[in-house]
């Protein structure tokens, strides 16, 4: 059972600032972390390996400092890691990101399952997983909350939906994206940290991926960001205080006064 996990390094805060000139994220001075949903993806992969044997490969498209995140993945139990890094990849939207990841996965060749997080906490689109599946012509299951069984080239998983969950069977290889309900990620181990320190993490660029220059980075992005902004915070907010009962009572009174109920 060979598993590829897609990891993205994101700013370790939800209060990201956006450069009004370039409409890109201001990344200076913010500590990077592994996208939280991707830590569940990695844990799911490691557990599958522990159960069925095989190998876990972590991949990430990002700047050179994503190397640090990939080492952490190794310290947690990933066997190998590959960084996809190239100036040409800069400015990628989900389409170009997915294309780049798909090229890498094709180059890796041997895999049974690809696991993504449900979405990132910066880009937030949740599009990379399904786009990746589409490009690789593989089945895709989103919001997986449990991997029930893997058997004879088939997987049976539970996926969260609003009213409960669905059980889905799909042939492997496949792509899934996972939700946080799937597991509690482990902490690194001392032996893992030692392994991670000396691990060789290759960096693949556009050349190594034999990627079409027009499909990576800004050139390959269908999205043009016109403007990103936070909605204005309302100045007339009022915070109710007191016991829950009295707060509810005064809320109801206020809603009535304003003719809202």
């Amino acid at each position: 059972m060979d598993i590829i996990v897609c990891l993205k390094q994101v700013p370790g805060t939800t209060q990201v600032k956006i450069d009004p000139q370039t409409n890109t994220l201001v990344r200076q001075g913010i500590k990077n972390i592994t996208n939280p949903f991707d830590t569940y993806a990695l844990e799911a992969a490691i557990r599958l390996k522990e159960q069925y044997g095989g190998k876990v490969t972590a991949i990430s498209m990002g700047p050179p400092q994503a190397d640090e995140m990939l080492r952490e993945a190794i310290s947690l139990g990933a066997d190998e890691a590959i960084l996809l890094s190239d100036r040409a990849f800069a400015g990628a939207d989900t389409l170009a990101t997915s294309y780049t990841l798909a090229r890498a996965i094709t180059k890796i060749e041997k895999y049974d399952l690809i696991i993504c997080g449900r979405q990132t906490i910066d880009g937030d689109t949740g599009q990379v997983g399904p786009e990746l599946a589409e490009m690789l012509s593989l089945p895709f299951v989103a919001y997986v909350s449990k991997i029930e069984e893997i058997n004879n080239g088939q997987m049976r998983v539970q996926r969260m939906i609003e009213e409960g969950y669905e059980v889905i069977e799909a042939p492997l290889p496949a792509v899934i994206s996972v939700v946080k309900e799937i597991n509690v990620p482990r902490l690194p181990s001392l032996r893992g940290i030692t392994r991670a320190k000396s691990a060789v993490i290759p960096a693949w660029g556009a050349k190594e991926l034999d990627a079409d220059q027009d499909r990576v980075g800004l050139a390959g992005s269908a999205t043009r960001v016109i403007k990103i902004f936070f909605p204005q915070r309302g100045k007339r907010a009022e915070i109710l205080q007191g016991s829950p009962q009295s707060q509810v009572a005064s809320l109801v009174t206020k809603l009535r006064e304003n003719g809202l109920i």
Binding site: R186, L187, P188, S189, L190, R191, G192, I193, T194
Partner: protein
């Protein structure tokens, strides 16, 4: 303070701190309240290789020594001393094996301990034999192929939870202290059961229990060292383990110091944070001086142990006594700085104060250890080498 730790030791320390802050901190009050053995955390420690730290590489360990153990214990204790001692008691339980065990015994048991699959414990104390360990009454009668163990051990840390027990018993009642031997007893051996689980002032999430042996057969290959070596094994064990109790005390005091400093900076009385009061500043200054002095002594002692020095009884005893007396004082002062809030369970310092007391009592009371230190002092005529 620069303690010249190796890269590996820094990694160990920072991972232990991460585990303490991420996994232990959220549950420590609840564990204390419920007096519940912290199994989930023990499993986290195992998965993070923390039980490998003090085991040689040949047996799947990381080959660390006393200092490495102290670093883990200190970090765990900074957040929760119950967890720290449950961890340290495993080391206590296997030091005899490490020091005197045969290759076969080590191969059989150590890899599982390293993986955290089996916890260990050490048992010498009995109802009638505390400080006077030579008064033990548990017997190990020689029978064909092994020993029949009879008697009751009391106050045994990890009792009931550990899989592996190093038990000191008399193989020859006529020879007194020279007739004691160390035996490895596995949980679930017929004739071996557990008695009362103690309800304690502090370290409440750790397990402290009676071990009851009734015609419990232990195969002869489970003797550690030779017959009659029980007390030598025990002395050597405590020489190596006492710095660990010192580290437990340092960690506790560090936690209390941090809590008191944070509180003093936030708490406003008479219009200013109480940190601005010189009376409080001086208390905190004394606390940090003592914590750092104790840490320095504990680390230096641990390094002396790791150097392979032959006689470290005096040093080990000093590290344990100084650090534990310090922890009692510092945690008490921390409660004082938090005032009424410090007395309440909503804040961690009352627990730290309760937890600190035990460090003055077990692995030799501080009175007994002062006796040890005085004996060494007399032997060396007060000189240092």
């Amino acid at each position: 303070m620069e303690y010249f730790l190796s890269e590996q030791q820094k990694t160990i320390r920072s991972l232990a701190r991460k585990i303490a802050e991420e996994r232990i901190l959220p549950v420590r009050a609840e564990l204390d309240e419920k007096e519940e053995f912290p199994w989930a955390i023990i499993r986290d420690l195992a998965a993070s290789d923390m039980f490998r730290v003090f085991i040689p590489e040949e047996y799947d360990g990381l080959g660390g020594g006393c200092l490495d153990l102290c670093l883990v214990v200190e970090e765990l204790s900074r957040v929760c001393s119950s967890v720290a001692i449950s961890y340290a008691a495993v080391d206590l339980g296997i030091i005899p094996l490490l020091e005197y065990g045969t290759e076969e015994q080590k191969r059989k048991y150590l890899p599982d301990v390293a993986a955290g699959k089996r916890l260990a414990a050490f048992a010498i104390t009995e109802p009638m034999a505390g400080s006077d360990a030579s008064a033990i009454r548990t017997t190990a009668e020689r029978v064909k192929g092994g020993y029949l163990l009879n008697g009751t051990k009391q106050f045994i840390t990890n009792g009931g939870e550990a899989e592996l027990y190093t038990v000191i018993a008399l193989t020859d009642k006529t020879r007194g202290a020279r007739g004691a031997s160390a035996l490895l007893v596995e949980k679930d051996t017929p004739g071996f059961s557990f008695g009362k689980k103690e309800r304690k002032l502090g370290i409440r999430a750790s397990s402290t229990r009676e071990l009851i042996f009734q015609n419990c057969f232990v195969p002869e290959e489970n003797i550690i060292g030779r017959e009659g070596m029980g007390f030598i094994v025990t002395m050597r064990l405590f020489d190596k383990s006492r710095p660990g109790i010192g580290a437990q005390a340092v960690g506790l005091a560090q936690g209390a110091l941090e809590a008191a400093t944070d509180y003093a900076r936030e708490r406003v009385q008479f219009g200013h944070p109480i940190f601005s009061l010189q009376a409080v500043q001086h208390m905190l200054a004394d606390m940090v001086i003592q914590v750092e002095a104790a840490r320095a002594l504990v680390y230096a002692t641990a390094r002396t142990v790791d150097s392979g020095a032959k006689d470290v009884s005096g040093e080990s005893a000093m590290a344990k006594v100084f650090a534990s007396d310090m922890a009692m004082k510092v945690t008490t002062d921390a409660v004082q700085i938090l005032g009424g809030a410090g007395y309440m369970r909503d804040y961690p310092v009352e627990k730290m104060m309760r937890d600190a007391k035990i460090t003055q009592i077990y692995e030799g009371t501080n009175q007994i250890l002062r006796n040890v230190i005085a004996i060494e002092l007399r032997k060396r005529k007060g000189r240092r080498d």
